[in-house]
Symmetry: C2
DNA sequence: CCAATATAGTTAACTAGTTGACAAAAAAGG
DNA sequence: CCTTTTTTGTCAACTAGTTAACTATATTGG
């Protein structure tokens, strides 16, 4: 059962971390962790078609489509039809959205570091490398059917 | 940014693993990963009050309440009012549910092992220990953090 | 003993995801 | 050039979670 335990441990740990991040972001910024991910991803891509953002977030195009107006109405993101492909809606982050994404990221980073001072016996960088190794091994050996289409 | 990258890597990896498990369970058993978790958790607890199962699964009592009839109607779980506390609904797994939980667990285990033959340089048992260390450190330091000072 | 409080489960209204169907636009290719 | 196929975004209907309000039952303490 060793291997199963790893997946259970992973799920449990990720659950705890995300719950904690969510709580902090709600308290201090009034936004959820998932809203933070939307912003930080859009910030990292710069202006992108809605479908590309969906792919980056690992969710369906429909999911992004439904959430876009929420971010627009709060002045955190903006959308405009592409000039070159009239099917495409280009999304971009606003200055306010960018400012917020940075601030939220910094807050989480600081909180995470504080929480792990005094944790000895685990090398976080080594852990990160191992997780990356697992991830790429996993992606290579799977018929990654992520939502619908897959970019090779 | 090291620490943030760890949480992103964790999320990404868990997403891939769970998506893969979900796909396999849907194909072979017609059930989702989350339904498997419900069954395997109920199987491990034995007969429990609905609220205890909710706690074990890390979801709200309402979430369990709404799903219970689905499992009952398929003969995988059963519920009966407690004889000692008339507020409580006791849940238990059926023989069929138990059989299914075992079979699904075995399938995932086998698939996981197959996928990781040929992955060198990562000791899964060591990884599991590290993750557990992180998890318990995290849980210890997560309670009682009201109003702590982190400059924003 | 009984009034106040706490707890278990259900329900309603909401959020955020899914798939499948669709219209419109673009790309491919005879 | 015109048909066929592909892609983009949106919508509808669904799943699975949330919180808040509610009912019914326990538990506690004066």
């Amino acid at each position: 059962m060793t291997s199963d335990r790893v997946t259970f441990t992973l799920n449990h740990l990720v659950g705890e971390i995300n719950r904690s991040a969510d709580r902090i972001l709600r308290e201090r910024f009034g936004l959820t962790y998932s809203q933070f991910l939307f912003l930080v991803t859009l910030d990292s891509t710069g202006q992108v078609p809605s479908s590309v953002l969906a792919h980056e977030l690992g969710v369906s195009r429909a999911a992004v489509s439904k959430r876009t107006s929420w971010f627009e109405s709060r002045g955190l993101a903006s959308s405009q039809p592409s000039a070159v492909d009239y099917r495409v809606v280009e999304l971009s982050i606003t200055a306010e959205g960018h400012r917020l994404a940075i601030q939220m990221g910094d807050t989480l980073e600081k909180q995470f570091r504080q929480r792990f001072v005094g944790l000895h016996g685990v090398d976080l960088d080594q852990l990160n490398r191992d997780l990356h190794a697992l991830l790429s091994h996993f992606s290579e050996h799977s018929t990654t059917r992520r939502g619908e289409e897959v970019a090779a």
